[in-house]
């Protein structure tokens, strides 16, 4: 009886550790993901001022959008549109690459919605974020 109990305990420990190991980390250190991250990091230098002025905001679906084009001088609006488009392309690619890197392409929507919440949580105060009821300022 003791042997059975002991082997059961061993087995459950093994299974739990296996589960924890599997659940502890998602693979995010692939060359593709690093390249997208670097591109987004470089672009953030240009986007930061637009977040602060309220010209752009973080959407509830994990992307960014132009919220108030009037906050930007006319001459810069074309560039801003391009930046937003490039950023959203990178973000979509990032979510897809994380899902693929972990062997589950079907996880992409869930990864995207996880990121959506985290971007908004980590946004600086003064930035605009999109909630269920529309845009709000943090």
């Amino acid at each position: 009886m003791k042997k059975i109990l002991l082997s059961l305990m061993l087995l459950s420990t093994l299974l739990i550790s296996q589960f924890v190991a599997a659940a502890a980390d998602l693979e995010v250190n692939t060359p593709a993901i690093s390249a997208i991250k670097n591109s987004m990091q470089a672009r953030h230098g240009q986007l930061a001022a637009f977040y602060a002025s309220g010209a752009i905001g973080l959407t509830k679906d994990g992307l960014i959008a132009v919220k108030d084009a009037n906050a930007v001088p006319l001459a810069q609006r074309g560039a801003l549109t391009g930046l937003v488009k490039d950023e959203n392309a990178d973000r979509s690619k990032l979510y897809k690459e994380i899902a693929v890197a972990n062997g589950h392409p079907e996880w992409q929507p869930e990864i995207q919605s996880t990121f959506a919440g985290r971007w908004i949580d980590k946004a600086q105060s003064g930035w605009w974020v999109q909630g269920a009821g529309g845009w709000t300022q943090k």
């Binding site: 296996q18 599997a22 998602l26 990032l94 985290r118």
Partner: protein, 64 residues
């Protein structure tokens, strides 16, 4: 006896494997998201270290 234990091991192990592969690991995804966002927005860069380094020479120079 051994067969019984082996059988139990399989019965426990098979659903566990399936569970790991099907369900989305929400906690792990949040952790991964935090890490990537910190990198992209550079929220955890070493701003405190240069400050500490600056203070030491400043203190030394003012003492002189």
């Amino acid at each position: 006896m051994k067969n019984w234990m082996l059988g139990l091991a399989f019965v426990c192990a098979i659903p566990a494997c399936v569970t790991i592969n099907i369900y989305f690991p929400a906690a792990a995804a949040e952790k991964a998201a935090d890490k990537i966002i910190d990198d992209v927005w550079q929220l955890k860069n070493g701003t405190q270290k240069p400050d500490a380094n600056k203070e030491a020479p400043a203190g030394a120079s003012s003492a002189q």
